[in-house]
């Protein structure tokens, strides 16, 4: 059996970079306390590995008194930088460069006197970070109706949460152009999510069975499974290799494997090796 994995499966490079930076920090500050503000990635194994290396996950800077704090790829609110400085914490800022770019545009629009509309989910940590960089009036929403709350004579500047579909951003821009005399936009979408979905679909088309790795709670993993299932009904979602039922692979010559945004690349590789090792052992047993 041949196994194919799309190029952009699993965590995006922004999250991968954050994980790398955390490991680098562990390596450099062996006798130092390290905490991460929120989990670096929603994957219990990775969080467990960091824990075993002395990196604790905290949810508030109040819980940390000294040492190094890692800010994850989502970004943190602006005042968190100040708070860390006041406490004398060393900061490793793993904010995704695409999110940094959004923060910069949120600040720039505000300084130029624009009412900033950030198209996204206001509960998402990225949005809590980005909006905090906008010192003037701003709004986080994905609903064009909300634009009615903004005075009609406003100059409006639109940016987007990095992970939303382009169509949602475009609909908001269109609605804004109809209502306001001056509208400026910066497309701050990162296409990692979209590319992952496109590649999963492309892979599903080429295989006889598709495996999707991801957390049970991960909505982006569910989305991937749905996309794959529509193309290849023999698509199975797993959280861990122990859930694999080898009867899935009977008669399968090409297997596709992809993973949600919280699955690090080494985990994908491990699952693939696990499958191939088990299949070859079975073949050996059958031969005996």
């Amino acid at each position: 059996m041949k196994v194919i994995v799309p190029k952009n499966a699993g965590v995006c490079w922004g999250v991968e970079r954050a994980i790398d930076m955390a490991y680098q920090t562990i390596h450099e500050s062996q006798y130092h306390k390290i905490v991460s503000l929120g989990p670096l990635v929603h994957n219990p194994e990775v969080v467990e590995d960091f824990k075993s290396k002395g990196v604790e996950v905290i949810s508030d800077l109040k819980e940390s008194q000294a040492g190094t704090v890692v800010f994850r790829s989502h970004g943190v609110p602006l005042n968190t930088y100040e708070e860390a400085k006041t406490k004398g914490l060393e900061v490793v800022d793993a904010t995704c460069p695409f999110v940094k770019r959004s923060q910069n545009y949120a600040r720039r629009f505000s300084r130029q006197g624009y009412f900033v509309v950030i198209v996204g989910d206001e509960k998402h940590p990225e949005m809590k970070s980005v909006r905090s960089f906008s010192p003037g009036p701003h709004l986080v929403t994905m609903n064009p109706k909300d634009l009615e709350k903004i005075p009609v004579d406003s100059k409006v500047g639109l940016i987007a949460q990095t992970t939303i579909p382009l169509t949602i951003f475009e609909a908001m821009v269109e609605a804004a152009q109809k209502r306001f005399p001056e509208v400026k936009t910066h497309d701050t979408i990162c296409d990692a999510t979209k590319i992952r979905q496109e590649e999963a679909a492309e892979t599903a088309r080429q295989v006889e069975c598709m495996l999707i790795i991801g957390g049970k709670e991960s909505s982006n993993t569910k989305k991937l499974t749905k996309i794959c299932k529509e193309i290849q009904p023999k698509s199975y979602e797993i959280e861990h290799e122990r859930e694999i039922d080898f009867s899935w692979f009977e008669g399968v010559k090409i297997l596709g494997v992809t993973a949600g945004a919280s699955t690090p690349v080494p985990v994908i590789q491990r699952v693939c090796s696990y499958i191939l090792d088990n299949l070859s052992q079975k073949r050996i047993q059958q031969a005996i």
Copy 2:
């Protein structure tokens, strides 16, 4: 003497990522031939180090018959992927994620029937890569006058070279909006260059002497030196620490050090250590 270095001095993380990927490739494929298509960064020391580890720089895939080829952060023309595949080369694609995003928008605009205007310098390798992803009519230019070459009834989609100033892109968008019935834009600028310049200026304001590290031929290093010199006349550009004249630092309590886009972070650290080591040796000599 205290030395301060702005957070974003030296190569951007897109180039850093490419260098990391190349070292990773060396680590993983010890008995394999590795080439890089063009230098990964315009820094003779780095190129020399890669050479000592067996990585050869080639300018054309014709020069390579087998093994692994690294595509650098600028990106490569679309047909280079095909060419590598035909030759059976293994590809390590270190194209900067911001450039990848531009490539995707160039393709998408074309597929949607837009005349694609890529605002940038047509001689730059990034532009040669991005334009190749646009199968339909397109133009690479920074001159608003060139828009006259495009039929007036066209739908026009604009994207930008990742490193150009935002003002140039905005001027082109404005000119396009005046001429064409339908204009769409995706701001594909990465603000790494701008941030590096802003931080250099901020640092220059805080110090009594400023050191700028970078290649003699590097235009972005010259720009940094110019910006710093206007703020702090005692600003000096060097390519290598051996050019340092320690009389520059007499009476200096705070020194600022920054670097152009072709200088890897470890080189900046090395120059700082060199200065501090020499100064403390001098102090010891004076004490004796």
